[in-house]
Symmetry: C2
């Protein structure tokens, strides 16, 4: 039993190393240029080992997207600040060179519920909605967002606008995605949503309390 657990842990560690290596290579040169042999080399293993863990290049690329999310989506207990940070993250997100293209291509494939990318998008959606809704509840408890707003509906709308603005930015002329998203957050969650301390955000003295 202990041995089995050991073998499982080793395999899981290997998969993790392969996902990380793939993500690094995608970020460096774009997924179309990444070869399985490069991934094997960077992870310090062989091509057959890569294919043992990930039977297709596509499954390897999906694991790289998951790895990206693990590094970028807030974990349980660390949701505070997700709303405040959203505009900034949207701006950084669209300017990343290679991840958006991989994400968009997989999104197209993932509409097909039989495609392996679909499971990735389902999981990512549930995870993102939970993080955003949790932060909305926190802001409601702090009085920065009206308690009458349905946090689950609002979370869906904030995420939808983020994805949709990203879609517009990727396909069309550039615009200020951060300003649009922050305008949107205030429209959906109320004018105080982006500042739990309205005085601090307006005045020159960030330590001053509410009047």
């Amino acid at each position: 039993m202990a041995e089995k657990r050991g073998a499982y842990a080793k395999s899981s560690k290997r998969r993790q190393a392969l996902s990380e290596a793939t993500l690094r290579l995608v970020q460096e040169k774009g997924h179309r240029s990444v070869t399985v042999s490069e991934v094997a080399e960077l992870a310090g293993t062989s091509e057959p080992t890569v294919f043992y863990h990930f039977p297709t290049k596509e499954s390897l690329l999906i694991s790289a997207l998951k790895q990206f999310d693990d590094e970028n989506i807030r974990g349980e207990g660390a949701e505070a600040g997700a709303i405040a940070d959203m505009g900034h993250r949207a701006e950084v997100g669209v300017r990343r060179p290679h991840i958006p293209l991989l994400y968009a291509e997989m999104a197209g494939a993932g509409v097909d519920r039989e495609h392996p990318a679909n499971e990735y998008f389902q999981g990512r959606l549930a995870r993102s909605l939970k993080v955003i809704a949790t932060d909305i509840h926190r802001l409601q408890n702090e009085g920065a967002v009206p308690s009458g707003i349905d946090a689950e509906i609002a979370a869906r709308l904030l995420l939808a606008a983020w994805e949709g603005l990203q879609f517009q930015w990727q396909h069309g002329p550039e615009f200020d995605i951060r300003a649009h998203l922050e305008w949107h957050i205030r429209a959906v969650l109320g004018p105080k949503a982006l500042s739990t301390d309205p005085v601090a955000s307006e005045g020159p003295s960030p330590t001053k309390g509410n009047p």
Copy 2:
């Protein structure tokens, strides 16, 4: 000169017939199953003629999406009602069997600015934003939407949420996309945006005027 114009008109008519035939076939069986020879047959022409007008199956599929938009996006002068109709159209849209998959796949490819789908998405974005912004201006003139709202920013946000909710619906579990989108329209444009006559929308007497 007159002859040239005649040849151009004939060519343009042929292209139109091919786009329409492709769209019908995509709607019937999905783009992956459509063959160029079927398109030729339905349009009453030959395969070489199809390839003369559309050098690849991909360019034919993009022309089918344009055709779909010509049939579904409001034209100039007919923008009134675009906002009121949005929730309903979103609901019908996600339940269409084959168009969303083609749209999503092309969206993935179209992130690449060199890909022919990119031009389609640029054009569609500009066209949709214009229709929505025009209808917002109309609602502002009627007093149903506060005049302080920037119609161009609001149009971007309405379209973004629509696309983003569609994205969530396509990849994840079903939800009431119409209710979410209408909640969103009220959040962005104010509570009276979906009814220029608030009494009519609430009471049983739609002809009764404002109090």
